[in-house]
């Protein structure tokens, strides 16, 4: 490095690269950080749990350590009838989402409300907790916040789960893991674009709709429809079951792969699924040799297929 030019060049390089990093990393990070989480952001992160990809609690992406979303119409503590409520049950040792662990992520006002009104700082992962999302009006603006109902109303995770039968439980957190692991987002985006696109696929998201969620799994390469609002377009569980087992049953031109392997060994009634027999029967149907396709087995309550279908139906 004998030349003076190289010293100047090195410094210029540091200056140019540093300025570039400042503008493209520091400034946007500060700007995005100042945005408050919306109602949607709180609902999303509470239903997905801490991480939707690789994590310590779930290194093989099996859906371990994820919350359960329930719809209950009875108070878990008193048993009294209440308005139908969506609650997020974190059993013992299920890691809390980022907004609870670091309330700063929620933005100033929602974080303060979640701590004072919602008492989220009293929640403990060791004992588990139940959360709901609520709103209040301040100066004419609706402000969402997270309420730790274990602290405010005494709803324990086990009592809350007991008030919801299987059809009132959505395994959204586990389903998001399936969505990421199976690469659904390589073909289906989760981001209606801000231009004409949203007229077909529904409202594009807002800046605050993702605070606390990780990863967002937006996808970049669309080979199938956007799924952000798919649960509003099609809320039929029967359709989803057939579609995931073999998409050509309900959409003959679909190029989606069959996700029948997510059904596992046994169906909902505990019978062993005969995949080879099913495929042979379907091939006969597709070739016009039989009139009806074979019956699609219902996924078992703890199967990966069920969690993925819960996740997709929950995208509203």
């Amino acid at each position: 490095m004998a030349f003076r030019e190289y010293k100047i060049g090195s410094r210029m390089f540091g200056l140019a690269f540093g300025t570039s990093m400042f503008i493209t990393l520091y400034m946007p990070a500060v700007d995005i950080q100042n945005v408050s989480a919306t109602y949607i952001a709180m609902d999303r992160q509470l239903s997905f749990g801490r991480v939707g990809g690789f994590s310590y609690e779930d290194p093989f992406l099996q859906g371990w350590g994820k919350p359960i979303t329930v719809q209950i119409s009875q108070d878990p503590k008193t048993g009294a009838a209440i308005e139908s409520t969506r609650a997020f049950v974190y059993e013992e040792d299920v890691p809390f989402p980022n907004g609870i662990r670091h309330p700063r992520i929620l933005g100033k006002v929602p974080a303060a409300a979640s701590e004072s009104k919602g008492r989220i700082n009293e929640a403990s992962e060791d004992q588990g907790a139940v959360f709901i999302v609520r709103e209040f009006v301040e100066n004419g603006v609706m402000i969402p916040y997270i309420e730790n109902v274990t602290a405010t109303r005494g709803w324990t995770p086990s009592a809350t789960l007991a008030k919801a039968n299987d059809s009132q439980r959505l395994l959204v957190g586990k389903g998001k893991i399936m969505f990421v692991r199976e690469g659904c987002w390589w073909c289906h985006t989760l981001l209606p674009e801000q231009t004409q696109d949203w007229q077909y696929f529904g409202a594009p998201p807002m800046l605050g709709d993702f605070n606390g969620e990780s990863p967002t799994a937006f996808g970049s390469d669309r080979k199938g429809p956007d799924l952000t609002h798919v649960g509003s377009r099609n809320s039929s569980r029967e359709w989803m079951v057939m579609h995931f087992f073999n998409p050509r049953l309900v959409q003959s031109h679909s190029i989606m792969p069959r996700y029948d392997y997510l059904w596992g060994e046994k169906d909902a009634s505990g019978n062993v699924i005969d995949y080879d027999g099913w495929r042979a029967a379907y091939t006969a149907y597709a070739n016009g040799e039989s009139i009806y396709p074979p019956e699609v087995p219902l996924p078992a309550a703890d199967s990966e297929a069920r969690a993925l279908i819960d996740f997709v139906l929950n995208l509203k």
Partner: protein, 468 residues
């Protein structure tokens, strides 16, 4: 390779690391394009190989992407750095042993990472899919040793100045460490939401802009003057290229999320900076093409120049697309469609691969001191790559335009799928041609090492006539 891992430094022949990197990169290229061809078959024929979680499209797509980026392209870069950097400094590689270890770590680390990724262990972020402990291996085992070796070789050079190629090598290896570490930081620091999504694309943009594009260009700054015997047309234009890459090309990351709810100032800034890609692009292309003055017959006769100049010419449509498709005026139409897939393959399989292939062809002949086994097979490789890639690019561009039209006219999505189907088949045909061409290349380079004519001392590979 294994016998040199624990050998004394002076017992390791000069050029060993580059040779291992060269052959590893070709093998990863065969693997990567084989996966690509298999994936494309699944898009064209969805029931092709079904019922297996491991062989499903969603498990293999990201393995294809990272196998070609970190396996083929980056290892070919490492190979080029390990023989070009010392050659330009009139010296030896700073540490041949570190280079051999680097190659060993690269193969092992990448194999583990891609195996886990294939099994479904992913962070869920495109391009930075690898889980964080693999990221640590990549930075400490792959990138840092490479950077140290390149920078120390430049420092211990025995020439007075530093040639253009080595500016790029030194800067890019350093910038890649920063880019890879920062881009994967969401996993360490639990950054969430749009910050995380933005950082994901910041990484994806900069790994192309500050690693693949400049290093590929740097290789051609070496190969073209070396093989043609013409000096580089202009050192000054090289300066313009280098500095405009550092200043402009590190900033437009946000244009990948043009339709996401990012702050508007950020998207506008990224879009304007994105058009400025034309500055380094025009500087690079004009400099190289003017260097060819008087030697254009080599474009036909010499395989390295044929590959390099084809890659350089592909930089023209690549940067014209890249500069303008990210502006709001155009992006709304083609965002998220097959057009982008075509563009990404134009960058990696078109522009960049052709430049690296030339470097690997030339470097392996130089280091092994053996003339290429067969010009016929090399030409076959070239045309399979070029026709296969062109088939892919044209079909995906058309498919993307169909998708764009479907998007704005609110066509039911299944009609778009039906309309795209012929192009999905064409894409598979093109990808398979590339894969078959690479298999032939691997055979050709294997035979070069075994039975290629020995190049006499003091001679350069391109000075000898081809024999087959």
């Amino acid at each position: 390779m294994f016998k040199y891992l624990f050998a004394k430094a002076e017992d390791i022949p000069a050029g060993s690391a580059a040779i291992y990197f060269g052959y590893s990169s070709i093998i990863w290229f065969v693997i990567g394009t084989g996966l690509g061809s298999f994936n494309a078959a699944k898009l064209a024929f969805p029931d092709f190989v079904m019922g297996s979680e491991i062989l499903s499209f969603g498990h293999m797509r990201q393995v294809h992407v990272l196998a070609v980026i970190l396996g083929w392209i980056s290892m070919a870069f490492a190979m080029a750095m390990m023989y070009i950097t010392p050659a330009l400094g009139n010296t030896k590689l700073w540490s041949e042993k570190l280079g051999v270890w680097n190659c060993f770590m690269w193969n092992v680390g990448l194999s583990i990472g891609l195996f886990l990724l294939w099994m479904g262990v992913t962070s869920g972020r495109e391009y930075s899919d690898l889980p964080f402990f693999i990221d640590v291996i990549v930075v400490l085992g792959l990138l840092v040793p490479l950077c140290i070796n390149v920078l120390m070789t430049i420092k211990t050079r025995r020439t007075q100045g530093i040639y253009t190629t080595n500016w790029f090598f030194g800067a890019a290896t350093f910038m890649l460490i920063i880019v890879f570490t920062v881009g994967n930081s969401p996993e360490f620091f639990q950054l969430t939401g749009l910050t995380e999504a933005y950082l994901t694309w910041w990484f994806a943009h900069n790994v192309l802009g500050l690693w693949i594009t400049p290093v590929a260009a740097a290789i051609s700054y070496y190969v073209v003057p070396k093989v043609t015997g013409n000096p580089l047309y202009s050192h000054r234009i090289g300066h313009l290229h280098f500095w405009s890459v550092v200043v402009f090309y590190s900033t437009p990351a946000a244009h990948h999320l043009m339709s996401a709810p990012l702050p508007e100032w950020l998207k506008s800034f990224a879009s304007v900076e994105g058009v400025l890609i034309l500055v380094p692009a025009i500087a690079f292309v004009s400099n190289l093409l003017l260097t060819m003055t008087g030697k254009w017959r080599m474009f036909v006769e010499n395989i390295e120049i044929k590959f390099t100049i084809t890659g350089v010419l592909m930089a023209i449509p690549l940067n014209m697309q890249g500069g303008f498709q990210q502006t709001r005026a155009i992006n709304w139409y083609i965002h998220g469609t097959g057009w982008i897939v075509a563009h990404a393959h134009l960058a990696l399989l078109g522009f960049s691969t052709f430049l690296e292939a030339a470097a690997v062809y030339y470097g392996l002949q130089t280091l092994l001191r053996r003339k290429l086994y067969s010009l016929g097979l090399a030409n076959f490789h070239f045309w399979m790559l070029l026709i296969g890639f062109t088939t892919y690019w044209v079909s995906m561009t058309i498919a993307g335009l169909i998708q764009g039209a479907g998007k704005i006219y609110e066509v039911p999505y299944i009609d778009v799928v039906i309309a795209e189907h012929p192009y999905m088949i064409a894409r598979w045909v093109g990808g398979t041609m590339v894969f078959l061409g690479n298999c032939v290349w691997l055979y050709n380079m294997y035979m070069t090492a075994r039975v290629g004519t020995v190049i006499p001392a003091g001679r350069l590979p391109h000075e000898l006539a081809y024999e087959r």
